[in-house]
């Protein structure tokens, strides 16, 4: 046979007649001789070894447990829940700081967003930052989750039997039962407490407002014989004069006042006049920052100034002048304006001093404002606390006359001075109960802490203004073992049933049966269909309680006509008490003025990270309180920003850093209330600052918040502050950034202050080398846009929080804010400018302020879009500048190239990142996230989307209903939240959209329009109501 060979080796073996071993066909490296011998046949033992090992390995490898995420579908779907579709419920928010009628957005059983209720005549669909942020408090894990007795968990039944027994004993012994509460707005709760008093006759209700309005009540009692606060109508005023009253920010009912105020400043509705706003204040407040004329005054000078104004008006209008005090301020202009607008002006003061409030009443009376801008047929019931009663109550507790004290959302240990002494006397009361949401500073010292439901878990009603009711309903089942406080009172008073039944009965008997009711048309121009609608009671002629109740519950608000005479001003009181009212002591040295911050207020919501990280509208500082000092004062004293100073008054002192704040009085320092919480929760613990309430003093039995003499010394330490804006002037760019003019100029020329826009519109449209620009054919359907009216925007920052809630925007913490990595998609830039002004005594220290909300401008020629290498931020055919988070790799080129710097980068993994334990790292708090908006990973860029999820929702709704989208149907979050209606969203391709009118308004311009970015957001030139020529040096 012929033999073929492939290699010499093979030939050799062929010649040797050997067969080639098949085994060497495979490499044998790494095998033992045995194994080679065995020719790799594994035996049974090997098999078992292998089996054992692989099983053990598999078990070990899989034993690293994956986190279990439950997504359980409904077995039986509740009738009113469609997964993915939100329900909205009207309810009412009442805290000692705020009142609002709101609509709560509930997704799959979880409240995720609070919006203003447009049917409310008081809040008028507006909200403020705190109201927006309140939804997170529902999910606050620092809330007390079960009833506690002396620090140990107990049961409700036990609590009820023990407390009822003790209360009965105490009442029998004739010892007092003090119920200390924040102002109660709920008429049914008031009724309930009456019944409670009937059961326990020694019971007494005392209101403790964190910030006192007691002097106003005293003054009104003295001069009108009616102990209450009237209903203010800023919308009817042509001249508004504020004395230390931050009515747009924190005073009394800021949401209502902002809405009303904005109406008087509106130039888009055909009106050609706007109100004139004078502000005299010690510190720079949000309200002062919006004033046409603002002058800083020493706290003590307020009285002098009011007397001067009073006497000047008395001379012109006929009145009795009082003893004049020496006052150097020029007020001729103010007097002339007030006289010219008699009956159409409003003077308010926020100082809790009876004499001052009496003077204010006298001035308003002389000006004939009662009956026009001040309606005393109605009362504003938001603040009813009387400091004298509070003082009595504490006196009684101290004297051991009180057998039981019940703190119902009252925290005197924190909000009152000498808190530790109060704590000591509270401890001595035999029975002490706190009905509150967490073991706060006061609740720490009581026997029983009984957690109240969050307002989103409760039934409630409120009467913030006489005859204007609102209803609240739960939007989620109780999260924990809490109980609504009213039900506790019912249990102890021996009333059966739940509070819902009680409240319903109360409404049936007392509110909805008033068949004389009509709905007052507050504003004849206001053609809001809903408010003009007849109530069911009217239309049916009979009282149909169920439908009336359902309607009221659905609307959230209900109004009845108020009958009765307004009380008459008793002018003789002033002359009789002239000596006391005009009493004046010249203060010496530095004075302290305490104030509330827009976000933090009295500190109730200190554990809310959204509010802590919200930049203060004026100082732009976050996460801290500080001593505000005027620049000149700081220079004189040698203090620098962030130097820690010791502020001492008597035996109390705090150490706080200095923040230099232009525009405030030179002899006064300011400290915000609401900080230094020690028992509010983990977020509050991370907040710096100190409790300033310890400085509160008293005068005429009323708590005094300003003009407190203090000694300030430098400690040599420094403390970092986190501000979101550190450059305050416009570097001479006012006409490119923030355009403004005066009313007179605007009346002469509608383009006043905005001539640059005319230039760009007429000239630059045609000077273009390239085809770039706006091409209508690119946007065949919608083209979304936003118009922002500076005349209405007050800078209140409600939109910042609304945006944050709606869009799941991360909280980054103080350190990252300090490094300018805050994530807010919408920010408000605040600029100071120096203006020459006949009223101003000191130009340098009295700047004018400009608030400018800036969000993504959705440029049609966007600089950010073309630089992204991965095309992660393209333009949609609806004019939106969109972000594809999944595509973004984070080169941050777009951030650099955005002239508005509105893009935000996820510098760290704020979601589930260990270091950022504020919001997203808590299972419960995460429930607040909006499921329509992606939570962003680290390393991606994000920014305002114009609430694209809302646009999509609105479009889908119109589509399923087979109709065209209506103007105003889609509301973006910032627009919804805005109490003044400064933000309008719409489709610029829709023929009769509101926004078209605003885009075509002569005041409108695009921010940095000379860059030809073609923004879809327009700003409307600010018109200040000043007489003199407009000269601004920014």
């Amino acid at each position: 046979m012929k033999k073929y060979w492939r290699s010499l080796e093979e030939l050799e073996s062929v010649q040797k007649n050997e067969a080639i071993e098949p085994s060497i066909e495979f490499p044998t490296d790494g095998l033992s001789k045995d194994e080679i011998k065995n020719k790799y046949v594994s035996n049974r033992r090997d098999f078992l070894k292998l089996l054992g090992f692989s099983t053990a390995y598999a078990v070990a490898a899989t034993s690293c447990q994956q986190p279990v995420r439950k997504a359980i579908p409904f077995l039986q779907r509740p009738a009113d829940i469609t997964p993915g579709v939100a329900n909205h419920y009207a309810t009412t928010l009442v805290t000692p700081d705020d009142y609002a009628s709101v609509v709560v957005k509930v997704r799959d059983g979880r409240p995720i967003k609070i919006e203003g209720n447009k049917l409310s005549k008081i809040t008028q669909g507006g909200t403020n930052a705190r109201i927006q942020a309140a939804v997170l408090d529902l999910y606050d894990t620092a809330r007390l989750q079960y009833p506690v007795k002396n620090g140990k968990e107990t049961s409700w039944d036990k609590v009820d039997s023990e407390i009822t027994k003790q209360l009965t004993d105490i009442a029998a012994k004739g010892q007092k039962i003090v119920i200390m509460s924040g102002t109660i707005l709920s008429p049914s709760t008031k009724k309930l407490l009456e019944e409670f008093k009937a059961k326990y006759p020694t019971a007494e209700v005392v209101y403790l407002d964190p910030v006192s309005y007691s002097a106003m009540i005293d003054a009104n009692e003295a001069t009108f014989g009616k102990a209450g606060i009237p209903y203010y109508r800023f919308d009817k005023a042509k001249v508004i004069v504020g004395f230390n009253a931050d009515f747009l920010g924190t005073w009394l009912s800021p949401v209502q006042f902002t809405a009303d105020y904005a109406k008087t400043r509106d130039l888009t509705n055909g009106q050609t006049e706007i109100s004139r706003h004078y502000q005299f204040e010690t510190l720079m407040s949000l309200t002062g920052s919006n004033a046409d004329y603002r002058q800083y005054i020493k706290p003590a000078q307020e009285k002098k100034l009011l007397i001067k104004l009073h006497n000047a008006l008395a001379a012109k209008l006929g009145g009795t002048p009082v003893k004049e005090l020496n006052c150097s301020y020029k007020i001729d202009k103010l007097v002339a304006d007030l006289v010219a607008n008699k009956g159409k002006s409003l003077v308010v003061s926020g100082t809790n001093d009876k004499s001052i409030q009496i003077l204010v009443n006298a001035i308003n009376n002389m000006l004939g404002n009662y009956g026009t801008t001040i309606d005393f047929t109605r009362e504003t019931l938001l603040k009813q606390g009387r400091d004298s009663k509070l003082h009595e109550a504490f006196g009684a507790i101290k004297d051991g006359k009180v057998g039981a004290v019940i703190f119902y959302h009252a925290n005197p240990v924190y909000v009152c001075p000498k808190g530790d002494k109060k704590a000591a006397i509270i401890k001595k009361v035999p029975l002490s109960i706190a009905l509150t949401d967490k073991i706060d500073e006061t609740a720490k010292h009581v026997n029983y802490v009984l957690p109240d439901n969050n307002f989103l878990e409760s039934w409630s009603d409120a009467e913030p203004v006489t005859g204007m009711y609102s209803l609240g309903q739960p939007t989620i089942n109780k999260l924990w073992n809490t109980r609504q406080a009213q039900e506790s009172f019912m249990k102890w008073a021996g009333i059966e049933g739940g509070f819902y039944d009680y409240m319903k009965k109360y409404w049936m008997e007392n509110i909805l049966n008033r068949n004389t009711q009509t709905v007052e048309k507050a504003n004849p121009k206001d053609d809001n269909k809903e408010t003009a609608q007849e109530t069911p009671a009217e239309s049916q002629g009979i009282i149909d309680f169920t439908s009336g109740w359902t309607k009221a519950l659905q609307d959230g608000v209900y109004e009845v006509e108020v009958t009765g005479e307004a009380p008459q001003f008793n002018a003789s009181y002033l002359t009789e008490n002239e000596a006391k009212i005009t009493e004046f002591k010249k203060p010496k040295g530095l004075q302290l003025a305490l104030y509330e911050k827009i976000g933090i207020g009295s500190g109730l919501m200190a554990n809310n990270p959204w509010l802590q990280e919200m930049p203060d509208p004026i100082t732009k500082a976050t996460w801290d309180n500080y001593v505000t000092v005027a620049p000149k004062t700081a220079e004189e004293k040698g203090w620098k920003q962030e130097d820690v100073v010791k502020v001492k008054a008597g035996d109390v002192e705090v150490e706080l850093p200095v923040l230099i704040q232009p525009g405030q009085d030179l002899t006064t320092i300011g400290i915000a209330l609401g900080y230094g919480r020690t028992a509010a929760g983990p977020v509050a613990d991370q907040v710096g600052g100190a409790n300033a309430a310890i400085f509160i003093t008293a005068k005429d039995g009323n708590r005094i918040f300003n003009g407190i003499p203090v000694e300030v010394t430098q400690t040599g330490k420094t403390y970092p502050l986190a501000q979101t804006q550190t450059h305050d002037t416009m570097e001479g760019r006012a006409e490119d950034i923030a355009r403004e003019t005066t009313l007179k100029e605007w009346q002469k020329d509608k383009h006043a202050g905005n001539h640059k826009h005319v230039f760009f519109k007429d000239k630059l449209e045609h000077v273009n080398l390239y085809k770039e620009g706006y091409h209508p054919e690119d946007y065949p359907g919608h083209h979304w846009g936003l118009a922002i009216d500076y005349n209405k925007c007050t800078g209140c920052s409600a939109c910042i929080i609304a945006c944050q809630v709606e869009n799941n925007i991360a909280i980054v913490g103080k350190e990252q804010v300090r490094r300018r990595r805050n994530m807010h998609w919408l920010r408000i830039d605040r600029y100071y400018s120096t203006v020459e002004n006949e009223l101003y005594s000191d130009v340098k220290n009295n700047p004018e302020v400009f608030h400018q909300p800036v969000m993504c401008q959705h440029c049609d020629n966007a600089p950010c879009e073309n630089v992204c290498p991965v095309a992660a931020t393209p333009h949609t055919n609806e004019g939106l500048n969109s972000m594809a988070y999944n595509r973004c790799i984070g080169t941050r080129y777009c951030m650099n190239n955005c002239p508005y710097k509105v893009r935000r980068f996820n510098w760290f993994n704020f979601v589930e990142g260990g270091d950022y334990n504020y919001l997203f790292n808590d299972e419960v708090k995460r429930m607040v996230l909006n499921p329509d908006v992606v939570v962003r990973q680290r390393g991606v860029v994000e920014k305002c989307t114009l609430c694209v999820q809302r646009i999509q929702e609105g479009k889908l709704k119109a589509k399923t209903e087979g109709r065209e989208l209506r103007d105003g149907e889609i509301e973006v979050a910032c627009e919804q939240a805005c109490p003044s209606g400064a933000i309008v969203f719409g489709d610029t391709n829709m023929a009769d959209a509101r926004i078209i009118k605003l885009f075509q308004d002569e005041r409108s311009y695009g921010l940095l329009e000379e860059l030809k970015t073609l923004p879809s957001v327009v700003y409307m030139t600010k018109v200040r109501n000043k007489d003199e020529e407009h000269k601004t040096e920014a």
Binding site: Q725, T726, H727, D728, T729, M730, E731, G732, R733, D736, I737, Q816, R819, R820, R821, N822, R827, D829, R830, Y831, Q852, V854, P863, N866, V867, C868, P869, V870, A871, R887, C888, I889, G890, T891, R892, Y893, M895, N896, N897, P899, Y900, K901, R903, R904, F905, N906, W907, F908, N909, Q937, R938, G939, V940, V941, L1007, L1008, L1011, T1013
Partner: protein, 468 residues
């Protein structure tokens, strides 16, 4: 057409081919000296901390560990990137421009310059890679087909051009560098035994020095050089478009492409000189890198410095002349008299004024002075990149946003890490690769007389001489 009378001798000491080989290969055939080990250790530690701690920390935690913020979104990473890319220019620019212009004095320097290019571009390449927010998704930037992802990259973006430009430049430079080394590898192979011989045999692609190989070798170099020359211009022009295609005042400038290229050559040449000073001192290669060499480079640096100075003046003039308040703010209020005046004026001193000392022959031939001035240029060029990246972004259109930038310790260590990488690379290079192109040196060794030019050149030169 090298003229000894004009330039002096390129290689001193009347070296034979063998002398050249011995001199150049001494650095690798002898035991490494102590200074080598010490500096290697220093650079290695820098590299280890930078690339082993700072870079992983950035990737694990996020860009937040750097000093960047919402206002200044790019910081040291981009500064260093541009700076290294600029240095990376030197090799190719040096080697290729001088090759094309037939400046034969390049031969003793070009190898080191090319090696430096490769290491500098590697160091530069690290920054874009770690500077993105999500490095694990970085492949999105490569246009590997719309079918796989249903999406193309954005060809409008200068960052994408960067990717192409740098990748091409790195590849071309590396090939150019490597091919130039083939005959030298063969030389090493011939002098060594054992495993080293095998390795160098492979590395030399079996070079045997055939005439046809030499021809192909020269052709390949010429072709690659021709290809690389526009790339040298392109790569930094494109890097400059990262800024000039932006909208920020201080970035949006038409002068940027040439300005960047010149700046890159400036820093690259300076870095080459810095290194050559050290190499000459360390290995006593005074015969190969003569004072004449430094003199020639110093003249170029002086000339480039004048261009830089003019560019600075033009920027200032345009900022004023344009009457654009944003632009004039950046240049006049910010650079000249503002927050950033210190880095600006140091930059001007280092880049525009200090190199003017080279007008003096004494300084051109003083190694210490040369060393200081070229180090100064590199500091100045770093400051220039700082001035471009940070101030325009920190203080742009809306003053409410303005915020300063400060690097963190991580930023600094990443930078030091790349310096370590570069240093380690260069030290390995001088130990394992012939640091001068021996084959090219040998071509120059005996050329002490005028070469015979081609006919055309001959006539041209003759005409020139006659005219004079």
């Amino acid at each position: 057409m090298y003229k000894k009378e004009v330039r002096g001798e390129l290689i001193l000491g009347n070296k034979s081919y063998g002398d050249i080989t011995n001199d150049i290969l001494r650095s690798q055939e002898e035991k490494a000296p102590l200074w080598w080990w010490i500096s290697f250790a220093v650079f290695f530690v820098l590299m280890a901390i930078g690339l082993g701690w700072a870079v992983p920390k950035t990737i694990m935690k996020g860009i937040g560990v750097w000093g960047n913020n919402n206002q200044v979104a790019w910081g040291w990473a981009i500064i260093n990137f541009v700076w290294w890319i600029g240095i990376g220019h030197a090799g190719t620019a040096f080697s290729i421009f001088l090759l094309v212009f037939r400046q034969k004095w390049r031969t003793s320097i070009n190898r080191a310059a090319e090696a430096m290019t490769v290491f500098a571009v590697l160091a530069a390449g690290l920054f874009p890679a770690i500077h993105v927010g999500r490095p694990w998704d970085e492949f999105f930037i490569f246009p590997y087909g719309p079918n796989s992802r249903g999406l193309w990259v954005n060809f409008n973006s200068p960052l994408l051009w960067d990717v192409f430009a740098i990748a091409t430049y790195l590849t071309t430079s590396a090939i150019f560098w490597y091919i130039g080394m083939l005959p030298d590898f063969a030389t090493i192979r011939d002098r060594s035994t054992g495993i080293k011989r095998t390795i160098f045999n492979a590395m030399s692609f079996g070079w045997v020095g055939k005439m046809s190989s030499w021809r192909k070798f020269e052709d390949a170099l010429a072709i690659l050089g021709g290809l690389a020359m526009p790339l040298v211009i392109a790569v930094h022009s494109i890097v400059s478009t990262d800024f000039s295609a932006g909208i920020l005042p201080g970035w949006h400038e038409t002068i940027f492409p040439p300005f960047f290229v010149v700046g890159a050559i400036f820093s690259g040449f300076s870095m080459v000189v810095t290194l050559m000073v050290l190499i000459r001192k360390a290995f006593k290669l005074d015969d190969y890198v003569t004072d004449d060499h430094f003199d020639a480079i110093a003249r170029i640096i002086t000339f480039v410095s004048l261009i830089m100075g003019s560019a600075y003046l033009i920027e200032l003039f345009i900022a004023w002349y344009s009457a654009n308040k944003f632009e004039s703010y950046v240049f006049i209020d910010n650079y000249m008299f503002g927050h950033y005046s210190a880095p600006y004026w140091w930059m001007v001193i280092f880049n525009a004024f200090l190199p003017q000392l080279f007008w003096f022959k004494k300084i051109r031939r003083n190694l210490t002075a040369i060393f200081i001035i070229t180090i100064g240029v590199n500091i100045g060029m770093w400051l220039e990149r700082y001035n471009i990246v940070v101030p325009p972004a920190a203080e742009d259109f809306l003053p409410a946003n303005w915020f300063e930038y400060a690097p963190t310790i991580i930023d600094k260590w990443v930078y030091l890490g790349t310096i370590g990488l570069f240093g380690v690379g260069v030290l390995l290079f001088i130990r394992f690769i012939p640091m001068m192109a021996m084959n090219e040196l040998k071509q120059q060794a005996k050329r002490h007389t005028e070469l015979k030019p081609t006919d055309i050149q001959y006539h041209a030169i003759k005409k020139l001489l006659n005219d004079e």
